[in-house]
C-alpha cells in the first residue's frame, strides 16, 4: 500500500483540467500499488479551495489547501517549497502533476528538492515491484520510450489529455495548510500576466482544434479559421510555425515539434501542407481533417478525411454546414 500526492494545478482560483487528469492517474497508481490514498494539494488565491470537491469526485481522499493572495499568479518558488514539504511529511510512493507550463517548471524542482527520480510528460504509468514503469514520447513524439524509475518517491508529470479524467466518487477531507515559503518573498516575481484571446479553450485542453497554415495566403484570412472554430462551439485555434514566424498569429499558437503538442478528438488542418515539424505536434490527434489545394501535400497521408480544394472556398462552406448540423443535433 502506498499513498500518492498530486499537485492540483489552478490558475487564479480555477482548477485546471489537467489537475483532474493527474488525480485520475494518481488514483490508478495508488490502486496498482495495493490501494493507498490519493492526497491532492491546491495552491491558489483565496477561493481556490472550491476545487476540492471536484478532486474528491475524481478519487482524492484528502485535499490540502493553501490559499494566499499572492498565489493568484504562478509563484513557482513558494509552490515548489510547499509541495516538497508536504511530500516529505507523508511517505508517498509518487508525486504526480501535469506536464503543463506550471508542471514542466515544478516537476524538476520537486525532483531536486526530494532527490527523487523524475519522468516528464508520461502517457502511461505501471508499477512493477519496486519499479515504476512509464511511457514517455521522446524525440518530439517520434520514439516512444519506456522508462524504469527506481527509488521512492518518484516524480511523474502526466501529458495533458493522455489520462482521461474519471470519476471515482469520494468525499475528500479538506485540510488547510500554510505555504512553506512566503510567496511574497520570492526571488522570481510575476509582474504581469497577459491573457490571450478570450473565450477560447486552450490548445492543450480543447477537444477540437482548428489550425491554419500558409495556404490561407494572408493573415486576415485567419478569420475563416476563427469562424469555423466558432461554428464548432468549443474549438481552439492553432497555427503552423510558418504562420507564427510570419507574425500572423502569436508564437504561443504554434503547433509542432517546437511548439505545442496536441491530441484533440478532432484536428482540422486548414491550408497546412504537413511538414514533419508540424506533424510531430498533432499526429496523435484522434481524427484528422485536412483541407489543402495540393493533393500531394503530406498532410493527406495522415488525414482521416481529406478535401482537395481552395481553403477560401471550402472552409466557409464547412463552417455553414457545421453550424446547421449542430443546430439540428
Amino acid at each position: 500500500m502506498a499513498n500518492v500526492l498530486v499537485f492540483a494545478e489552478t490558475r487564479g482560483t480555477a482548477l485546471r483540467k489537467v489537475a483532474l487528469e493527474a488525480v485520475t492517474a494518481a488514483r490508478a497508481l495508488a490502486d496498482a500499488s495495493g490501494g493507498g490514498e490519493v492526497h491532492a494539494l491546491i495552491a491558489g488565491a483565496p477561493g481556490a479551495a472550491a476545487g476540492a470537491e471536484q478532486l474528491g469526485k475524481h478519487g482524492a481522499d484528502v485535499v490540502y489547501v493553501v490559499e494566499h493572495p499572492s498565489l493568484a499568479t504562478f509563484e513557482r518558488e513558494s509552490i515548489a517549497a510547499t509541495v516538497a514539504e508536504r511530500a516529505k511529511q507523508g511517505s508517498y510512493r509518487a508525486v504526480v502533476l501535469g506536464f503543463s507550463s506550471q508542471g514542466r517548471d515544478l516537476g524538476p524542482r520537486l525532483a531536486a528538492k526530494l532527490d527523487a527520480p523524475i519522468a516528464a510528460d508520461v502517457t502511461e504509468i505501471a508499477v512493477s515491484g519496486d519499479t515504476v514503469v512509464v511511457k514517455h514520447p521522446g524525440y518530439a513524439n517520434k520514439v516512444i520510450l519506456t522508462l524504469a524509475l527506481s527509488g521512492s518517491p518518484v516524480v511523474l508529470s502526466v501529458r495533458p489529455g493522455a489520462f482521461t479524467a474519471k470519476e471515482s466518487p469520494k468525499t475528500a477531507r479538506v485540510e488547510r495548510i500554510e505555504p512553506a515559503a512566503d510567496p511574497a518573498a520570492a526571488r522570481v516575481v510575476v509582474k504581469e500576466v497577459v491573457e490571450g484571446a478570450k473565450g477560447r479553450p486552450d490548445l492543450g485542453e480543447a477537444p477540437i482544434i482548428i489550425a491554419g497554415g500558409r495556404g490561407l495566403k494572408a493573415a486576415e484570412n485567419f478569420k475563416l479559421v476563427e469562424a469555423l472554430a466558432d461554428a464548432f462551439g468549443n474549438a481552439a485555434v492553432g497555427a503552423t510555425r510558418a504562420v507564427t514566424d510570419d507574425g500572423w498569429r502569436p508564437h504561443s499558437d504554434q503547433i509542432g515539434q517546437t511548439g505545442r503538442q496536441v491530441s484533440p478528438q478532432l484536428y482540422v488542418a486548414v491550408g497546412i501542407s504537413g511538414a514533419i515539424q508540424h506533424l510531430a505536434g498533432m499526429r496523435t490527434s484522434k481524427t484528422i481533417v485536412a483541407i489543402n489545394k495540393d493533393k500531394d501535400a503530406p498532410i493527406f497521408k495522415v488525414a482521416d478525411y481529406g478535401i482537395v480544394g481552395d481553403v477560401l472556398e471550402v472552409v466557409p462552406a464547412l463552417t455553414a454546414a457545421v453550424a446547421v448540423a449542430r443546430k439540428h443535433h
Binding site: F74, R76, A80, S101, Q102, D105, P108, R109, A111, A112, A116, P117, I118, A119, A120, D121, V133, H136, Y139, A140, K142, V143, I144, L145, T146, L147, L149, S150, V188, V189, V190, K191, E192, V193, V194, E195, G196, A197, H251, T258, Q265, L266, Q277, T284, K286, I288, V289, I299, K301, Y305, G306, I307, G309, E313, V314, L318, A321, V322, A325, R326
Partner: protein, 256 residues
C-alpha cells in the same frame, strides 16, 4: 566605464537532427544512430545565441559552454566556440548522457557551483529526452532562482526580466541574478559560425574532466516507433465534398 560585464554559462546537448527518420537499435532500448546527423540541440542553440548577444550588449564578459557526454560532444562545444563562446568544458562520460535528468543536473551543478556565473542558460528541453528536467533541477541544486521556457530575456543592474508563455496567456517576471534561465524558441536565431570564428575556435580552451553524475535511477527499458496512422483518405474535391465530410464527422468519427 561601460555596463558591468557578465559571465554566462550555457549548458548544451548534442542531439540528432530532428527531421530524421528514426530506426530502433538492435538493443531495442535506443535509436539506431547510424547515418544520423548530430548537432547542438535546437533549444541549446538559441541559448548560445542569447548568451552571445547579452555579452555583446554588455561589451565584454565571458561565455562558457558546458556539455555532459563522451568525446563526441567536443564537436558541439567547438561549434559553440566558433559561434563566439570563449571557452568550453566537457564533463566526460563513457556512454551518452543518461535518461536520468537529475543525475545529469548533479554533474552540472558540481561544475557550475563555484564558477562565479551571473547567468546559466539552458534550452527549455532537448529534442531526444523531450523532458526539460536538467536546467531547472540544476537551478534547484545550485539554490538559484530559475525561470523556464522564456521567449524574451533582458538583464541589467544585477536583475533579469523575462517573458514566458503560459497556456493561453503569457507572464512577465523579474528575478535577481545570479539565476538559471531556460530558453524557448522564437527568442533569437542562432548565428552561423564565420570562417574566422571556426579558425579562432580551434585555439580556444576546451577543458575535459570526468562528470560527477548522480546515481542513475531512470533508465530506458525500451524504445519503439509510434504506431503508424492508418493511410490517409481523400474524400472529395472542393466545397462539393463538404456534405460528405459532415456526414463522416457525425456518423463515423462521432465528433459532431
Amino acid at each position: 566605464m561601460g555596463a558591468p560585464t557578465v559571465k554566462i554559462a550555457v549548458c548544451i546537448k548534442r542531439t540528432p537532427d530532428s527531421e530524421s527518420r528514426f530506426k530502433i537499435a538492435s538493443s531495442g532500448a535506443a535509436i539506431d544512430e547510424a547515418g544520423l546527423k548530430f548537432d547542438i540541440d535546437d533549444f541549446a542553440g538559441y541559448a548560445v545565441e542569447v548568451a552571445l548577444q547579452l555579452n555583446e550588449k554588455s561589451g565584454g564578459g565571458e561565455t562558457v559552454v558546458v556539455a555532459v557526454g563522451p568525446d563526441l560532444v567536443q564537436e558541439s562545444l567547438r561549434k559553440a566556440m566558433s559561434m563566439g563562446a570563449d571557452r568550453a568544458v566537457q564533463l566526460k562520460t563513457d556512454a551518452a548522457a543518461p535518461a536520468d535528468g537529475l543525475a545529469v543536473a548533479k554533474a552540472l551543478a558540481a561544475e557550475l557551483k563555484d564558477g562565479g556565473y551571473d547567468l546559466v542558460l539552458f534550452g527549455k528541453h532537448a529534442f531526444d529526452t523531450s523532458a526539460g528536467v536538467v536546467g531547472t533541477a540544476t537551478a534547484e541544486l545550485l539554490g538559484l532562482p530559475c525561470v523556464t521556457a522564456v521567449s524574451k530575456l533582458d538583464i541589467a543592474n544585477g536583475r533579469g526580466s523575462a517573458t514566458r508563455d503560459l497556456e493561453g496567456a503569457s507572464e512577465k517576471v523579474e528575478f535577481s541574478l545570479p539565476a538559471v534561465v531556460t530558453i524557448d524558441e522564437g527568442i533569437a536565431r542562432p548565428r552561423y559560425p564565420s570562417l574566422k570564428g571556426i579558425m579562432a575556435a580551434k585555439k580556444k580552451p576546451l577543458e575535459s574532466k570526468p562528470a560527477q553524475l548522480g546515481a542513475v535511477r531512470v533508465t530506458v527499458q525500451k524504445a519503439e516507433l509510434p504506431p503508424e496512422r492508418p493511410a490517409g483518405r481523400i474524400i472529395g474535391e472542393g466545397a462539393a465534398a463538404v456534405p460528405e465530410l459532415v456526414r463522416l464527422l457525425q456518423t463515423e468519427a462521432k465528433v459532431l
